[in-house]
């Protein structure tokens, strides 16, 4: 396999890993709040988080491009280290992927928090556990299957994104040229063998992800008996 393909694979895995990590860090408190808040506008926030599921990636990508560009907030942030824009950078891709994959991480975790109900936390409180201790020693372990599903889906979804990447990342090898874009390029260049290799790899990867999520779900079912 050519060096080019490996660069794309490495970059894709790196992007997916960083995105998943960021999503777990910001998605967990968000999921916790969504699961427990009784305010009506929590559903408004939930709907905003879910938007990427229904929006065409080009629409999302367009607004992200504006936001990351020189005249958007992304440009301001980039100015901190002297750059003009976050678009067409790895950092920009991470931000875009976080927005794009957010619902796939937040929803399983939110559901897991909601499914355990109030009771385990009440029990923990009557056993003198502070809210923080109850969260880390009861809520998080009980929601573990939700975290697993969320992380797997977030990772996989980031690996598979195409439209958003094309809109905000373009096609810079080693910086923004991820697998899905690479396949597109190979097909454009009529390099069918390379395209097929990457595409088949993606099929196998997708299959393994779905299998993993199903197996996790089954384990949860057994635990809840």
């Amino acid at each position: 396999m050519s060096e080019e393909i490996w660069t794309a694979v490495r970059l894709t895995l790196q992007l997916a890993a960083v995105t998943t990590l960021v999503l777990l860090v910001i998605g967990t408190p968000l999921a916790w709040w969504l699961a427990r808040s009784r305010r009506w506008w929590a559903e408004v926030v939930a709907a905003i988080v879910a938007l990427p599921i229904v929006l065409p990636p080009t629409v999302l990508g367009f607004y992200l491009l504006v936001a990351l560009g020189p005249s958007g907030p992304g440009g301001l942030v980039a100015g901190l280290w002297g750059a003009r824009t976050l678009a067409f950078t790895f950092e920009g891709l991470v931000i875009g992927s976080v927005v794009y994959s957010m619902p796939f991480v937040v929803q399983p975790i939110r559901n897991a928090f909601a499914a355990m109900g109030e009771r385990p936390l009440e029990v923990a409180a009557t056993l003198r556990a502070s809210p923080a201790r109850a969260f880390w020693t009861v809520a998080v372990p009980l929601a573990r299957p939700g975290f697993l599903t969320g992380a797997v889906l977030g990772f996989a979804h980031t690996v598979g994104e195409f439209g958003v990447v094309l809109m905000i990342g373009g096609n810079i090898p080693g910086e923004t040229k991820v697998l899905s874009v690479a396949i597109y390029d190979y097909v454009e260049a009529l390099q069918w063998r390379e395209a097929n290799m990457l595409a088949a790899g993606m099929v196998a990867f997708a299959f393994l992800v779905i299998l993993a999520v199903t197996l996790i779900d089954r384990r949860v079912g057994r635990m809840r008996e």
Binding site: V123, L127, E225
Partner: protein, 365 residues
């Protein structure tokens, strides 16, 4: 300081339901909070634990947990809480559950020690098991042990047996009785089952439709004609008695209560000097104006009618034991026909014939 007590005064609304509960309970022994389902018992208990909040005050053995300016969050209240469903942590083993509320080293002088709890509740074969492999009764025992090991100053139990079938209840009741005897911890025990009250409680808080209608020693409330317990279909009185004599030849024990003695079949291991609880059901007591002749009924006691509650066809008489009627009170359920034929009335001296007296299994302090 006065004797340590539990003082609760709470008022507020819960979903269109007005709750106004104030009562005082002693700082030791088991106080049953008794009433029909939906009368607000559980809400009161949850407020004492700090899991819910109503306006009012809550003081427990000298500490203020809630008043106009204070509201301690639940994790700062030294309670043990046993929920109706055991609610064990599914991700921890039985041992992990038991130890969850144990922070750091347990002081050597701790009131509740791990080994004692395991022994008391028969948990040693379960320690390594996962909660979902336990029976309902086993789970509830673990939940009780877990609550005790957090070294509570007050144990709150919310219908801990009501989710269990009859056989499992009977499996757990002896554990609760032993608990009561071996710990000096005050217990608030919410239930709608009078059988549990009679076996476990010393004090009673009676609730109806969001209000406390009476609070006091169990026997006093059971025989108070102003309260609905007297006319309940299964009305009974629990009397604390002392074993004064044993007759091993016939397997009988003599027990003294205020104003009289009872002769009761003695279980194995009954000892002179023990405090035991007698249960006398109103339906097992009949009345005679003259001392009855020879009879197979062992227990015929002098008494006086202190009060009468007339129903449609039945009359419930509150009796004071002893010639002057000043002793312990029991109930007699008789037909209105007999009541009128015998021309019974308040203040009259009678002979109470008691067909059966049940001796509760647990020894009491």
């Amino acid at each position: 300081m006065t004797a340590p007590t539990i003082e609760v005064a709470l008022a507020g609304r819960r979903g269109g339901f007005a709750l106004e509960a104030s009562f005082t309970a002693p700082g030791q022994g088991v106080t049953a909070v008794f009433g029909p389902s939906g009368c607000g018992k559980t809400t009161v208990l949850r407020c004492i634990a700090g899991l819910e909040r109503l306006e009012g005050t809550c003081r427990v053995t000298g500490e203020t947990w809630q008043d106009e300016t204070t509201f301690r969050p639940p994790h700062r209240r030294p309670v043990g809480y046993v929920f109706q469903e055991a609610s064990l942590f599914a991700h921890l083993s039985v041992e992990g559950n038991l130890l969850y509320g144990v922070r750091g080293r347990v002081p050597a002088d701790a009131a509740v020690r791990f080994d004692d709890v395991v022994e008391l509740l028969g948990l040693s074969p379960l320690l390594m098991r996962a909660p979902h492999n336990l029976s309902g009764g086993e789970r509830q025992r673990v939940a009780i042990g877990r609550a005790l090991l957090s070294q509570p100053r007050l144990l709150l139990m919310d219908e801990p047996l009501s989710a269990l079938d009859r056989a499992t209840k009977d499996e757990i009741l002896p554990f609760l009785e032993r608990l009561h005897l071996s710990l000096s911890l005050p217990v608030l025990y919410v239930t709608h089952d009078m059988r549990e009250v009679e076996r476990l409680a010393d004090h009673l808080v009676l609730m109806r439709a969001g209000r406390v209608i009476a609070a006091g020693p169990l026997a006093a409330l059971q025989s108070d004609p102003a309260l609905p317990l007297v006319t309940a279909r299964d009305a009974a009185v629990g009397l604390d008695a002392v074993v004064t004599h044993l007759d091993p030849a016939y397997g009988l024990a003599t027990l003294a209560v205020d104003g009289g003695v009872f002769i009761v079949p003695a279980g194995a291991g009954t000892m002179v000097g023990e405090r035991r609880r007698l249960r006398i059901a109103a339906g097992d007591v009949s009345l005679a104006r003259e001392p009855p002749g020879p009879s197979t009924i062992l227990n015929v006691l002098e008494a006086r009618i202190r009060a009468v509650e007339a129903g449609d066809n039945e009359v419930t008489a509150v009796l004071g034991l002893g010639h002057d009627g000043a002793g312990a009170r029991i109930l007699a359920r008789i037909t209105r026909r007999s009541f009128e034929r015998l021309e019974l009335s308040e203040g009259m001296a009678v002979h109470a014939q008691i067909k059966s007296v049940a001796l509760a299994p647990g020894v009491r302090r």
